[in-house]
Symmetry: C2
């Protein structure tokens, strides 16, 4: 019988899903970014739980306050990627006995910040003694029934688009993990991208209101991984022709002889939205993002082939299903 | 600055609560068994998160499937103690790499069982690598607004009552932890009380419908601790004159020269309901429980003194605020 450490997270999740009964009439299939329950009256309760483990998810240089805030943002991001408005957060903590009372207060402050930035409140939780620092959050939001954005609605011909830019967190992680020097003016924004990630609340809500988005996911596991997840859930492929790389990530990549596209595709820990838009709906999406002052970039289109490809000049190359995968030390996806 | 391992769970929780903003108009104060969000239309979403940590919460002899089921039951019990009907469960897992794929399937089976027994479904979750086995569940339920049973509504003169009987899990734990022999016919029910605890779903729903319950809590942290929590939240005291001890726990206590009342009061890991009832409402409560075939016992009354006392013959003695408290190795309460 294989051990969990040999399986990789995908197979662990598959082992779990095999054993779960499916809720009849569930508005969202198991395995989407968040789950939903029909509240009647055209409304959904949207729920998400995601756990931060100190050992694997907290890089050097991140305070416990930042870690706690991030644990909330991870969950909020999944709600907003579905078009839900966050309302409440619960936090179950595993706290190593060697932390101080001040550390605990900082954790609570971070949880509170993460929730309040997105209009939600921390309403409860649980504390436990544990060897690892564990911050396990659950978030509750609400959404109009017709506005929930699944992973599974992309169709060949749809426009593929993303908010913001990519690679900043990956570059920031290299700075924190490998002590790489950063060119003048880039260290702060790159490190901030890791330590203080932001979820796209207003964008998620506005996008769901356009009615033009056919599928949506956040990019927390890396842009490449998110593209593969969208493709798999929708039964489409993607041809990507543009990669919006964060300017500081480009400068950083150049200084270190790194491939900026690699940072943008395989980084993760960024909370941008990756969406598909029905062909006639692009103008509405652009207008909505312009009103918010948020960059949105058309990066390619959905295809009928089961492949995720990057166009480079006249050639195409596969975008690999890589990212961070727990249980395996390789970076492979979540 | 004191370390968490010196603080005890109560002070850890206080440190957290100091830093949280309070949701305006929240239907339930922070610190009740579960939290609630107003959904409008006279309905509440009731949410709860509680984490099971292998190292501290899983006794020898408990399988991972039983542990997973229990992690769900812990959360369900808090919902039903408030009068809410469980709908959905999320489970975030910290899985040590040395577990097998079969262990993971067993965990999922246990989660599914715990949810399905109470009419809910596991709708999602998250998997992580961790040193400890961590099963962090969040449960969502719904409740009519006027039917939510808080901890804080007990008034002097109210009747104090409990469902079921106590001490079985405490005796079962002694069997599992200390390898104590059990008198004929008692081992199975006592050990089952620990390994397969049950939440009082139908009882919680029926009690909330009587409209006679002024305060409610489950007994998961021990009867003594629950009484102190109810007393503290309601600003009352209790005079207890009866302790319904499980028959097998009495036999076990006698065989080992233990105090059965001690097992019943300070055991924990039992999921009975501890309620107060307004003086005119007792008959309705008795009727409701009779219809379900569930024993309910009038065990005392709420008083105006800030004390929790046990009447023994002609004398009274204090019931101590003891139970299991994380972060301190003593058993002191949660």
């Amino acid at each position: 019988m294989p051990l969990v450490e040999e399986l990789g997270e995908r197979r662990v999740i598959e082992a779990i899903l095999r054993r779960l009964d499916i809720m009849p009439g569930s508005p969202v299939p198991l395995g989407d970014d968040a789950s939903a329950v029909d509240l009647g009256g055209g409304r959904l309760a949207v729920i998400k739980a995601d756990m931060l483990v100190g050992k694997t998810d907290v890089p050097p240089g991140m305070t416990v306050r930042q870690a706690a805030r991030k644990a909330v943002v991870m969950n909020v991001s999944d709600l907003v990627a579905k078009g839900a408005r966050p309302v409440a957060v619960l936090a179950s903590l595993g706290i190593p006995g060697r932390l101080t009372e001040g550390d605990v207060e900082e954790i609570a402050t971070g949880l509170n910040e993460g929730a309040r930035e997105y209009g939600a409140y921390v309403l409860g939780g649980d504390t436990n003694e544990a060897s690892d620092l564990v911050i396990s959050c659950a978030a509750l939001g609400t959404c109009e029934e017709g506005r929930f954005m699944r992973r599974s609605g992309a169709r060949p011909g749809d426009i593929l688009a993303v908010t913001g830019s990519f690679g900043g967190a990956a570059a920031g992680l290299r700075i924190l993990l490998e002590n790489l020097p950063a060119p003048r003016g880039t260290r702060r924004p790159l490190v901030d991208a890791v330590l203080t990630p932001r979820a796209r609340l207003r964008e998620g809500l506005a996008l769901s209101q356009t009615g033009a988005v056919t599928a949506s996911i956040d990019s927390s596991d890396g842009l490449a991984w998110s593209l593969h997840e969208l493709a798999r859930a929708s039964g489409v492929g993607f041809l990507v022709d543009t990669l919006p790389v964060a300017r500081e990530a480009e400068v950083f990549a150049e200084a270190h002889g790194l491939d900026a596209a690699e940072l943008a595709l395989y980084g993760g820990e960024e909370y941008e939205l990756v969406i598909t838009v029905r062909p006639g709906g692009w103008e509405g999406v652009e207008d909505a993002m312009r009103r918010l002052g948020t960059p949105v970039t058309r990066v390619g289109r959905a295809t009928g082939e089961p492949t995720v490809l990057l166009k480079k000049g006249d050639s195409v190359e596969p975008i690999e299903p890589r990212g961070w995968e727990h249980f395996k030390s390789s970076r492979r996806g979540n």
